[in-house]
Symmetry: C2
Subunit: 367 residues, 2 copies
């Protein structure tokens, strides 16, 4: 009788606590057969569990628990696949599951024609968004509203006060600098929202005559370099909540979160960067001065020209990118009667739906 | 010449670093007049700023900066309102900005008729969602789809794989225990999503003949009590990422985040709790055993009967609640040819849009 189950797999002992086993019991009383959902709460499981008996049943291990004599059959392969401590239970959202890049690392851009995407390339494109942070789809028709179809092909549009989609072009009375012809430096969108949209799409309906190039920066690669170069400043930014705000006639948004967001184990899980909408910091004096020193160094690092990948969107191109990771920018563009300026349509979506679509596609391909 | 501006307000000195002032300069070169957005990045501001001159200009303080002789006029009232260190720059999302409750604390339920909501009560209802965690709207017509109108009245529907809205009723082949007549203990929805929806709406089209009562638990109050009673277990749950998953034919979602989510300063900002969809923990052995001890204590605390507020939804009632904070539950219900069982329609939305709507309503009332 003991608190653990120990198996030896390939000469290596692997150990499972009784409570872990019981909470993951696959019998139909514990796990709903149709849904795979657990039928027991942790409080339904007796306290002070012990294993009174283990039996080898070929493919399975039979475990009997005290005090209630519940018996569970664990497939041996499942136990081997679920060894503790291997860290394989993440959701792929931190820097550890990404391919960090500087532009020279991307020998080939993650890019694909819309036709290829529709003809079996979707999984490869979505995988690029999760791994590299973006994919460039080309050859869509330059028709208003098309961007919503791209979003619907892998997930769900996140509607906001900007609508289901928004036009990025010069407006006579812009509520946002995006709607001018000015250059915009690398930033993430909507840091004044919580939850901020985690995926952004930009579909080019009309390229600028001159200028209006899109720049992309891998914020996770930058954060990893920042941590290596200046761990103290990195820590300051990960610890300091910063308020972002957006106000117009019908909207008043505010969110207060750090510029660099970490997982509980200190790995980078998100960046927010957008000086335009940063609100006055109200932390104590010493924190404010430390923050500004760190913030300047971080901004300088993000602005290094060698970090920025330049992509010129042509009419019909659609960029899909991870807004928790990849900063986007644009150069200024000119307008004249002959070149009426750049016109993009954008919308937001979320990474969880995108990853789900990829997982299902991969499952189907694998079966 | 100095690095700071110091003002004396009501006998109390308040101090602002030069870089903070300059980053918040309200002149039209620094702040776009139409949008209130900043036109300068931090890297546009000279390094090693100093204040060479301050002048009293009645309502304003004029500040001249070295090395570039930029001059800024700061309204004195604005400076007084933005004193550092007062912590007034949050977004209202942590426990500090909530009214934590046990059921006896709620002498009156936050509740309102739909007519009152439409006739000027909306701000009060939305404020209750942010402060108490929920509001009960009554007297809506029990018409399918109505829940989407309620969501649209304060924000944007978060579409998911369950659709823009979903039916909660007994289904012949349920993909989720929600779609059975079983009791469901207090939980938050969609912990397998990141971002998880932050607002949930449940609109009752048909009450159960017997049972099917809704229970609500203030997860932030519970977390605060848990921290006071067992800080070590609280810390364990705040530090341990837990994977949740949901799988059906078209969906495969996974998110890995702690059960208790903290702000950088350690204040509770979110809870996730849903044993049904928790996936096997893969942390190292010692972490797993510590986690299970803490998890059981947390589950026991959440299950204390005294924490659960019982609400019986009648046809036409719509409950709107904060899914980052309030756990919901339901009792089992009976079905018979005479009582066909409970039928709710639900949808998701987000707190940021809700808070924006409230801010604009309050602004309009105040002006």
């Amino acid at each position: 009788m003991g608190a653990d189950l120990e198996l030896v797999v390939g000469g290596r002992p692997i150990r499972f606590p009784a409570v872990w086993l019981r909470d993951n019991c696959p019998c139909p009383d514990c796990l709903a057969p149709g849904t795979g959902q657990k039928l027991k709460d942790i409080t339904d499981i007796p306290n002070g569990l012990a294993i009174t008996r283990t039996e080898d049943a070929g493919e399975s291990v039979l475990v009997t628990f005290a005090p209630d004599q519940h018996r569970s059959a664990f497939p041996r392969a499942w136990l081997e696949d679920h060894a503790l401590g291997d860290g394989a239970d993440g959701d792929g959202r931190t820097e550890d599951d990404k391919e960090l890049w500087l532009p020279p690392d991307l020998a080939e851009l993650p890019a694909m024609s819309w036709l290829s995407y529709l003809a079996g390339g979707k999984a490869e494109a979505l995988e690029a968004v999760l791994r590299v942070g973006f994919v460039l789809l080309s050859g869509l028709s330059a028709v208003p509203g098309r961007v919503l179809e791209v979003a619907a092909s892998f997930g769900y549009v996140r509607e906001t006060n900007y609508g289901r989609l928004f036009d990025v072009r010069v407006e006579p009375a812009p509520g946002n600098l995006a709607f001018t012809s000015r250059a915009i430096r690398p930033h993430t969108d909507n840091p004044y929202r919580d939850p901020a949209p985690t995926v952004q799409l930009l579909h080019c309906l009309r390229a600028a005559g001159e200028g209006g190039d899109t720049g992309l920066v891998d914020g996770f690669a930058a954060a990893a370099d920042f941590r290596a170069a200046d761990p103290e400043s990195f820590g300051t930014l990960a610890r300091t909540p910063v308020s972002f705000g957006y106000v117009d006639k019908e909207t008043e948004l505010r969110a207060s979160l750090p510029l660099i967001q970490l997982s509980p184990s200190g790995r980078v899980r998100g960046v927010r960067f957008n000086n335009r909408s940063m609100r006055p910091l109200r932390r104590p004096y010493a924190e404010v001065t430390a923050f500004y020193a760190a913030y300047r160094r971080w901004a300088e690092l993000l602005a290094q020209p060698g970090r920025q990948l330049t992509v010129r969107l042509a009419a019909g191109d659609c960029l899909v990118f991870d807004n928790t990771r990849v900063l986007h920018a644009r150069t200024a563009f000119s307008m004249s009667p002959r070149s009426p300026g750049r016109h993009l349509q954008g919308c937001y979506a979320d990474l969880d739906g995108l990853a789900s679509t990829l997982a299902v596609l991969t499952r189907e391909e694998g079966s």
